[in-house]
Symmetry: C2
Subunit: 159 residues, 2 copies
């Protein structure tokens, strides 16, 4: 395994570890728990799930892998705070999206070539990337993993 | 910049970003807030700081860089849960340790050679490392960054 493949393995392993942790936690929570706040006055589990879903789904277009699946979640789960939007998907739907999104991303990631992981994502300009080659797709995945860990640390408080 | 240096830059950048985030949050909290629970019945900020300090300090020996500085924190902040141990350092001490530890680790990390980051840490055996070269020092730093993000997500709830 060369250095490039090794580093991709490290990045994907951290991502998969956190997906598995969140998935296990969510499977163990009832629909009622999904509708509870992680602490008084803070976000509900369902909001955090919708938020992770939308942020993860955006990677499909940031990586130019295809068309993203849940753009309709951005408004309620990224742009707006929890409880600001009515008519949200029920917990049963979010559960399905969560599983499906993880499978979809896994399939996309597995089909990326090693070189592709080190190319720029669409949120960085060609000019900036020329001098900041660290702003590549793998780096974005590492940042998204930290973002997931941040919210996972909040989700576990429901227990 | 070769691939190896690029990966190290990515890993260190994520680490430094999170150190800066936690540092800024802690500077903005009063001693009284440090002594508060992040949510009813959950860990206090001071416990989470002591916990991060002890876990980060352990890296010095895991990476064989020298002698760690705060082994005395392990019992109260890693082995035991919050409020189980009396005679803990006051907040003013923890504040100093936190700043000092970050400077110390930065200095150690800056002096590591690129090759060194891809060697094994002491928690993995030579046999396991032979077949799992991804279990290197840089990978441990990436994991510790996720660990810090997890607890940072909890700390921000104090606001």
């Amino acid at each position: 395994m060369d250095n490039q493949q090794l580093f991709i393995k490290m990045g994907l392993q951290a991502w998969n570890t956190h997906i598995t942790r969140v998935d296990k936690l969510l499977d163990g929570l009832t629909d009622e728990q999904w509708s509870q706040e992680i602490a008084p006055g803070k976000n509900r589990i369902s909001y955090l799930v919708g938020h992770l879903l939308a942020i993860h789904d955006r990677m499909i277009e940031l990586f130019e892998l295809g068309k993203r699946s849940y753009p309709q979640l951005d408004d309620a789960y990224i742009e707006k705070p929890d409880k600001a939007v009515s008519g949200l998907p029920p917990v049963s739907e979010l559960r399905k999206y969560w599983k499906k999104s993880n499978e979809e991303l896994k399939s996309y990631f597995n089909n990326m070539s090693p070189d592709d992981w080190f190319t720029k994502h669409t949120a960085v300009s060609a000019e900036d990337f020329a001098t900041q080659p660290e702003r590549n797709k793998l780096n974005l995945l590492i940042n998204r993993t930290n973002h997931m860990a941040y919210h996972y640390g909040q989700m576990v408080l429901i227990k």
